[in-house]
């Protein structure tokens, strides 16, 4: 008699129950890939050089401000490239004071090199530049992550990508408004509030008349819109503004959508306490002057400072309701340290994903039914055995996928069909061998035992070879290849269990009730 038959049956039923428990209900338990549920997958490059430029420009502007405050005159302070700025015309009698001040203020981050005639070149220290680039990427990831959370995407991925060190991968499954998601993620959202020195003017030449056609060293020209009266549509204009911002987006505590005094959509913001003091000082001493609200290097509006403002402000302009909602969202999540350049983008609409699911499921079921019919016709009662074990295999595979949280993709569905194929192959190998053994005159029990024993090595060999391929595919593959490798891998493992262990148990179960001379329907 067969030993431990009862326990084997228990193990099989328990496995099936566990598998079903793991993946049921499938809508909730199985993670679908982008190709099936829609969404967007992007690889973005963080243009870290912009973060360096910004740092260099800000450092130069701050140094100049301190120099002016200390009464050290220079003829110019200007950035020359990403990491370098030049100070020219330092008065000889102030040279020592200049060096001391520069050393105190930026000695840790910039190397100083003296030239002729009181000129100095400041170059960002190489290790600082590397750090800044790395920080820019880390900050970009944090910012994108916050924005993605604001969008309410479930199970997003925002992570570093590749070896270059400046790429970020963003995966947003199930997002349907793809253009909006892209806009929200890619927007730099650099908010700067800067005092207006001249303007608005319809073109640059008019703007610079007062300053003799030159842009003064501590100022810059920013394009934007200006309204003839509050609440009126604006016209394209140019502003001459201070280079150093009074307040930036980093100083915000929060931002929200609201309406301005003319019932137009606007964004109101609150500053953190540190910035509030500074902002109060600047607005208090500049009453009656314009303050430009600059978003991503465009002046959105330039209201006149009516009085001292400390911690609150409003961004007005020509916005729609949708725009202010999105703008307040990106301002809350903070500015990106640098712009992002798309390197790769795959987006799938939800209905196409559904089409693919339908087609895939339909093809899988058709394959399964076809195979089942054939096995039943060809192997009669033993065919039932094959149908049960192949179905069990698919159940275990689904359970595995749900349990480890593997993502089911379109090639993954193909992996299911292949798993069916592997299951059939194992069954056919065994059944053919049993038939052969019976043809050689063995009794049913002996034939079954010989069939399984002899074929086991072959099944092991074929499965190990395929597992090796699946493992490498998973390790070195990307996207669709990985999805496929995952299903194939689990399918192969569970097939060894079902086609060998479960199938043999079923045979033994049916033979155990019959006399030793019983025939087998195969």
């Amino acid at each position: 008699m067969y030993k431990n038959l009862r326990w084997k049956v228990v193990v099989i039923i328990a496995t099936a129950a566990l598998a079903v428990a793991a993946f049921y209900p499938p809508e909730d338990r199985l993670k679908l890939g982008l190709d099936l549920q829609g969404g967007i997958h992007m690889v973005l490059r963080v243009n870290t050089e912009e973060a360096l430029t910004y740092e260099t420009e800000t450092t130069a502007a701050q140094l100049q401000e301190s120099l002016t405050a200390a009464g050290v005159t220079t003829s110019s302070v200007r950035p020359v490239d990403l990491t370098t700025f030049v100070v020219e015309g330092v008065a000889p009698d102030r040279d020592a004071q200049f060096r001391q001040l520069a050393q105190d203020q930026i000695g840790l981050t910039f190397d100083r090199e003296a030239g002729v005639g009181g000129s100095y070149t400041f170059r960002m220290k190489p290790n600082i530049a590397v750090d800044r680039r790395r920080e820019a990427v880390a900050q970009a990831i944090q910012t994108i992550d916050r924005r993605v959370n604001e969008l309410g995407v479930s199970e997003p991925i925002v992570a570093p990508y590749g070896d270059a060190g400046n790429q970020v991968v963003v995966v947003l499954p199930g997002v349907s408004d793809i253009p909006r998601a892209k806009e929200m993620i890619g927007r730099t959202a650099l908010l700067e509030l800067k005092l207006v020195e001249q303007g608005p003017a319809p073109d640059q030449a008019t703007l610079l008349q007062a300053t003799g056609g030159q842009i003064p060293p501590d100022m810059e020209v920013v394009p934007g819109m200006s309204a003839s009266a509050p609440g009126q549509p604006g016209v394209p204009s140019y502003y001459l503004v201070r280079r150093l911002a009074a307040v930036t987006g980093n100083d915000l505590r929060t931002a929200r959508a609201t309406v301005d005094g003319f019932n137009q959509p606007a964004v109101s913001f609150t500053l953190n306490s540190q910035a509030a003091g500074r902002f109060g000082e600047i607005t208090g001493s500049n009453i009656g002057r314009q303050l430009a609200i600059i978003l991503d290097n465009r002046v959105e509006s330039a209201p006149v400072i009516e009085g001292r403002i400390s911690n609150e402000g409003q961004i007005t302009g020509t916005f729609t309701q949708r725009e202010v909602t999105d703008l307040s969202m990106v301002l809350r999540s903070g500015a990106l340290p640098a712009s992002l350049t798309p390197q790769y983008e795959q987006s799938v609409g939800p209905s196409l994903g559904q089409d693919s699911i339908d087609a895939g499921v339909q093809a899988s079921l058709a394959g399964l039914v076809l195979v089942a019919l054939f096995m039943l016709a060809y192997y009669k009662l033993a065919g039932i055995n094959a149908v049960i074990t192949i179905s069990l295999n698919l159940m275990i595979l689904l359970g595995f996928m749900a349990y480890v949280g593997a993502v089911l993709t379109l090639p993954g569905i193909a992996g299911f069909i292949l798993t069916i194929g592997m299951g059939v192959d194992s069954n056919v190998l065994i059944f053919e061998r049993i038939r052969e053994e019976m043809a050689n005159g063995k009794g049913a029990r002996q034939a079954v035992a010989a069939g399984f024993d002899r074929v086991f090595v072959t099944i092991l060999d074929t499965h190990i070879a395929s597992l090796i391929a699946a493992a490498f595919l998973f390790q070195f593959g990307t996207g669709p290849v990985r999805g496929f490798a995952t299903t194939l891998f689990f399918g192969l493992i569970s097939n060894v269990f079902t086609a060998v262990f479960a199938s043999r148990t079923l045979f033994e179960l049916s033979l155990s009730r019959k006399p030793g001379t019983a025939r087998l329907s195969i």
Binding site: G367, L429, R454, D461, A469, P480
Partner: protein, 315 residues
């Protein structure tokens, strides 16, 4: 029911025909691929932009092509999915000045704007694939790497499990199938994409699977049929496993054919590769793998060499 009873076909007799046939197909196919400057690569590997648009009403490909006439570079427009879906696939090559990322997105945007302007119908973008040159290069490298390591892994395993001549036969048969698939993909106008690479490797697993079944049988028979020469030994083994070979290949072929016909556009190339792979894998196991193993075991068996030619039983 039984399709094949006990057969005794002399497969080995046909081995030279098979080798010549395979060589002709491979040389012609590879020659053509080389002549056209390498296999056709999908945008996964070349970089570029691909859009699938679903129109609310039927639209002709020519209308879409007309709308895009002002766009530089060669672009392709073709029907996507079933006729009733009103979907078109638009493909743009990699723009030259693409490194500045803006252009990467711009190409897709200008397509949408041009079609909107042409007023040929309302549509929604269903799928967008934009692959920049850096990522394309990256994916290409990874694809090649995955293929080569997986092939090497399988071959090392076979090398460990079987004696040298048989391992060589299995490896040649596997490479044969990969090349045959590439040739057929090229003939039928399929591009190499990540999905196709996955299919190629699956097919490899399948083909090796098939070969292992027969070689395992040879190894098993070698213990019983000690006095026989290798040639009848191999032939008997092929015949003994023939019904399994036919049934497995047949059912898998049917299942994959379902995938090919009903699996949708996205899986068509994948399924095609598998279909070719199943046929080629079965053929190469019976004719190529065994033939190479025999070829390497020659000279013709005398009593002494037959004894030496026994398949090493390692299992």
């Amino acid at each position: 029911m039984q399709i094949l009873g006990k057969t005794n076909i002399n497969f080995i007799k046909w081995r030279w025909h098979a080798i010549v046939l395979s060589t002709v197909v491979i040389v012609a196919g590879l020659g053509q691929i080389v002549a056209q400057g390498g296999p056709k690569l999908g945008i996964d590997f070349t970089g570029g932009t691909e859009l699938v648009l679903r129109f609310a009403q039927p639209v002709t490909e020519d209308a879409v092509r007309g709308a895009l006439a002002s766009l530089p570079g060669d672009k392709s427009v073709q029907r996507y999915g079933n006729a009733g879906d009103n979907m078109v696939l638009i493909r743009l090559p990699q723009a030259l000045e693409v490194e500045s990322g803006q252009t990467l997105d711009d190409a897709a945007d200008s397509v949408l704007n041009l079609i909107r302007a042409a007023n040929i119908g309302t549509f929604t973008p269903e799928r967008t694939d934009i692959v920049g040159p850096t990522i394309g290069e990256d994916l290409r490298q990874k694809g090649i790497y995955a293929t080569l390591t997986a092939l090497a892994g399988i071959m090392i395993y076979i090398g460990l499990r079987f004696r040298f001549t048989f391992a060589a036969g299995a490896i040649v048969a596997t490479l044969h199938d990969v090349v045959i698939c590439l040739v057929f993909l090229n003939w039928f106008g399929y591009e190499l994409t990540l999905n196709i690479i996955a299919a190629l490797l699956t097919m490899t697993g399948y083909s090796v699977n098939d070969t292992i079944v027969i070689f395992d049988r040879v190894r098993e028979n070698a213990r019983v049929m000690r006095k026989d020469a290798l040639e009848p030994l191999v032939n008997t083994s092929v015949n003994q496993t023939l019904s399994r070979t036919v049934i497995t290949a047949g059912t898998t072929f049917l299942a994959v054919a379902g995938l090919y016909l009903y699996g949708g556009e996205a899986l068509e190339g994948f399924a095609f590769t598998l279909l070719v792979g199943i046929v080629s894998g079965t053929y190469s196991t019976v004719f190529i793998a065994a033939a190479i193993a025999l070829l390497l075991t020659k000279p013709a068996p005398t009593a002494g060499s037959a004894a030496r030619a026994r398949v090493k039983a390692q299992s």
